[in-house]
């Protein structure tokens, strides 16, 4: 009885209901996604996109150094000004330093390789898997050797002998 109920439960209408629930919940959740809500959170978010100019590989957000504090102050001033978007603030601060402060490499020139190479690897990996699975499938279709047939025949013989006895 329980098994029957379980089987009925798991038929496709239940999966459709599940899919509907997921889509509805995701829509509700993503609709209210408004990004950083307070000026302070905007400052934190921008400071995570800039490198500390004097530290060992830390972002302005992580660093407690004097240079990072100065940049944080500048971000706070720009945010309070309300004239620029987050990306424009990042660009303005980056432009004001000779060193490259952006923590995300650009999408053009040599820097673009850092974005392209993983995608190329992904494509190659997927293509490789497709090729390998095709080869395995073909191999699977051809592997019924004489030994296989003999094995199956002996098993079948045994089954029929058992049945007879």
């Amino acid at each position: 009885m329980t098994n029957l109920f379980n089987k009925k439960m798991k038929r496709w209408p239940a999966w459709v209901v599940m899919l509907f629930c997921v889509v509805a919940l995701m829509l509700i959740g993503t609709q209210r996604d408004s990004g950083p809500s307070t000026p302070q959170e905007r400052i934190e978010s921008i400071s995570q996109r800039l490198a500390c100019p004097t530290c060992d590989g830390e972002s302005v957000y992580e660093s407690r150094g004097a240079a990072s504090q100065a940049i944080r102050k500048e971000i706070a001033r720009q945010v309070a000004d309300g004239q620029l978007t987050d990306s424009q603030i990042v660009k303005a601060i980056d432009d004001s330093y000779t060193a490259d402060l952006k923590l995300v490499p650009g999408g053009t020139g040599f820097d673009a390789l850092i974005w392209i190479l993983p995608i190329v690897l992904l494509i190659v990996a997927i293509a490789g898997l497709v090729v390998v699975f095709r080869r395995w499938k073909a191999q699977g279709a051809l592997t019924a050797t004489d030994a296989d047939r003999e094995l199956v025949e002996s098993a079948l013989r045994q089954v029929s002998e058992n049945r007879d006895s």
Binding site: K7, M26, T30, C55, G57, V104, P118
Partner: protein
């Protein structure tokens, strides 16, 4: 004071002894193999014990030098101090490059001795003998490093009577005692499967024998590395003051890279054990994991990258890079030589099978490792080829690894319920139904409590889905086997999965929903933030021989007082902040004292971070460690599934021969 320190003399002598012991171990074992001389082979363990004894003696002499304040030694002048508290004086051994190599050496030789002891009754076996040779070679390399470019026993300038002590960040938390040794055991632990893999390639016994011999060694190495990484995150959270646990710093990445390939290996090895497939792949993963530990050591200790965690630049860089290149080249040649023997006899029938899922998991982990490696070394490549300095930071890694992490969570949900060979639609529908509803439940719960953002919501939903699948497996196994339902590789693995899922969910929540506010507060002032009240009760001064600290007293919700501080380390002249954290199951309240403060100030800049689910990161980590231990217990042994029906008898006999 003696012109030559007794500590330095004995320590250096011990390093030389270790070096010669490893050299002799290699010579005797290789000669034993060549001449089939069992007596020579039987002596190999003795060389392993002696190498360990030498490393231990060197380590003890360094500790003695630090404890007795032997400032005639350069290393003690660099990291020792008369005022350093006993605990941090003890841990000062691994607070700089030369001493950290000494700790590495101690862990490595300890492991070599453990392998020698474990297999002492079977030293006549050629596979084991070659594995010992490889272990001695690795040991020899690190003894050489310690004898030459990273000599911890060099004599210092005359007339020095005191030193600065370790870096302040290495003397303000107890985790300095645990994180580096545990992490190092994890790193060196992968030397064992590497040695057996190389031995398998040398002897041509590339079946499943070497895998079975090293199964537990690999598992423990992975477990130690996992715990080491998590303790490192905890330490960073408690000490650095920016409230984060992971910054994609090059040194963090150096530990994460072997973890990724090691995790891939732990999964793909199951396919070889069950189906006799993926032989080249598994060998490559083991070699990659070991090579990445060497590459990580190079990145951390050569001075080529900038990181707060990195050691200062030394001359070990070229040595480590050469050894890394040597390992890779020799491994490739050996794999190439065994080409045909490594060909797998089987085929994966369908992508919708357990082995298909493991293959997908391996592809994802490999791409993940590639992304992390590329992001870590890309600034070096740009500087070398374009003569420009760039920084690749957290936003890049977050953007690139997030889809990979979500896909891995999805695979964690699917893979445990998939049967070997091929899954039918009915089986999938039946087995995934309740786990999928767990995912919907997790999503609904997160929406109800106010979660937003598609990535976080997807992480919670997939986390619920994967947790449902893992719990289903544990429930089924427990129903069949009672208490053994959580023991053994498959079941213990599910406990590890639950730990990973908890960490993924907690990491996603703490990254996405951290709230921050900075307040300039007067003494006696109370502010309200995130439904909590914070009262600033004043500043106080505490000083000892090492540092002077200004502490702010912050009363939270009218209850306990928390004291973030800013400390000036007298000898280094370094000013560092120490956060104070109120830990909770739902939120952590993380408080820092900002800017330059004096006790006479009547106001202070206090920064408050509300960090959700942080405690669950540590709980998840503990579950991963527990799951690793459970997975190492012998579970119910299954018969391997034949790779192909016709070849099964032949393959089985060949495999048995080699085991």
């Amino acid at each position: 004071m003696l012109a030559v320190s007794i500590n330095a003399a004995i320590g250096r002598g011990a390093i030389l002894l270790g070096l010669l012991t490893c050299l002799s171990g290699i010579a005797i074992t290789v000669a034993g193999i060549r001449k089939h001389d069992l007596r020579a082979l039987k002596s190999a363990p003795r060389y392993a014990y002696l190498a360990f004894g030498a490393a231990l003696l060197a380590f003890i002499m360094m500790e003695r030098a630090l404890i007795t304040r032997d400032f005639s030694m350069k290393y003690v002048q660099q990291v020792g101090s008369r005022d350093t508290p006993a605990l941090f004086n003890f841990t000062a051994v691994w607070s700089a490059l030369e001493g950290s190599i000494l700790l590495w050496l101690l862990a490595l030789t300890g492991l070599i001795a453990a392998v020698a002891r474990k297999f002492r009754a079977r030293v006549g076996d050629e596979l084991l003998a070659w594995a010992m040779v490889v272990l001695f070679v690795v040991g020899l390399f690190f003894f050489l490093l310690s004898f030459g470019p990273a000599n911890p026993f060099a004599m210092g300038a005359l007339g020095v009577n005191d030193g600065p002590g370790p870096n302040p960040l290495l003397q303000n938390h107890i985790l300095v005692l645990f994180h580096p040794p545990i992490l190092y055991i994890g790193y060196v632990g992968f030397t064992v499967p590497f040695a057996f893999a190389m031995a398998a390639l040398i002897t041509g016994r590339v079946g499943e024998g070497w895998l079975l011999e090293t199964r537990r060694w690999t598992l423990y190495a992975w477990g130690f590395l996992t715990v080491g990484i998590i303790l490192g995150s905890w330490w960073s959270y408690e000490v650095l003051g920016w409230s984060g646990v992971w910054a994609w710093d090059p040194v963090e990445n150096a530990s994460f890279l072997p973890w990724l390939t090691g995790t891939a290996y732990l999964h793909s090895v199951l396919v070889q054990e069950r189906r006799g497939m993926l032989r080249v792949w598994n060998l490559s993963l083991v070699i990659a994991t070991f090579s990445l530990t060497i590459l990580g050591t190079f990145l951390t200790r050569s001075g080529v990258i900038n990181s707060v965690h990195a050691f200062s630049a030394g001359s070990v860089g070229p040595w480590l890079l050469t050894f890394f290149a040597l390992v890779v080249v020799v491994a490739i040649i050996l794999i190439g030589r065994r080409g045909d023997e490594l060909r797998s006899p089987g085929a994966i029938d369908s992508p919708l099978s357990r082995e298909g899922a493991f293959l997908a998991n391996n592809v994802l982990f490999s791409i993940f490792a590639f992304v992390v490696l590329l992001g870590t070394v890309f600034p070096l490549i740009v500087e070398a080829l374009n003569n420009r300095r760039i920084v690749v930071g957290e936003p890049f890694f977050d953007r690139m690894t997030m889809p990979l992490g979500l896909t891995l969570l999805f695979l964690m949900a699917i893979a445990p319920v998939l049967p070997w060979r091929k899954a039918s639609q009915e089986v999938l529908r039946d087995r995934l139904f309740w786990p999928a509803w767990c995912g919907v439940g997790a999503l609904a719960l997160s929406v109800i409590v106010g979660a937003d953002g598609w990535a976080s919501l997807a992480a919670f939903a997939l986390g619920g889905f994967a947790a449902g699948a893992a719990l289903r497996q544990i429930a089924l196994a427990s129903r069949r086997q009672g208490w053994r339902g959580v023991v053994g590789r498959a079941n213990g693995g599910m406990v590890v999965h639950i730990g990973v899922i908890i960490i993924a969910v907690a990491f996603s929540a703490s990254s996405s929903y951290t709230r921050t506010q900075e307040f300039v507060m007067n003494v006696g002032e109370t502010v309200t933030f995130a439904d909590h009240t914070f009262t600033f009760e004043g500043l106080s001064l505490e000083s000892d021989d090492v540092k002077t600290s200004v502490k702010a007293a912050i009363r939270i919700d009218g209850d306990s007082v928390y004291s973030p501080a800013r400390s000036k380390y007298i000898k280094q002249g370094m000013d560092i902040g120490t956060p104070s954290v109120k830990t909770g199951f739902v939120n952590d309240l993380y408080i820092t004292l900002e800017g330059n403060v004096r006790t006479t100030d009547t106001e202070a800049r206090i920064k408050i971070f509300v960090k959700p689910l942080i405690m669950w990161l540590w709980i998840g980590g503990a579950l991963m460690a527990l799951g690793t231990v459970l997975a190492a217990f012998p579970g119910k042994r299954r018969q391997p599934t034949a790779p192909v029906s016709a070849d099964s008898v032949l393959t089985q006999s060949t495999t048995d021969e080699h085991v």
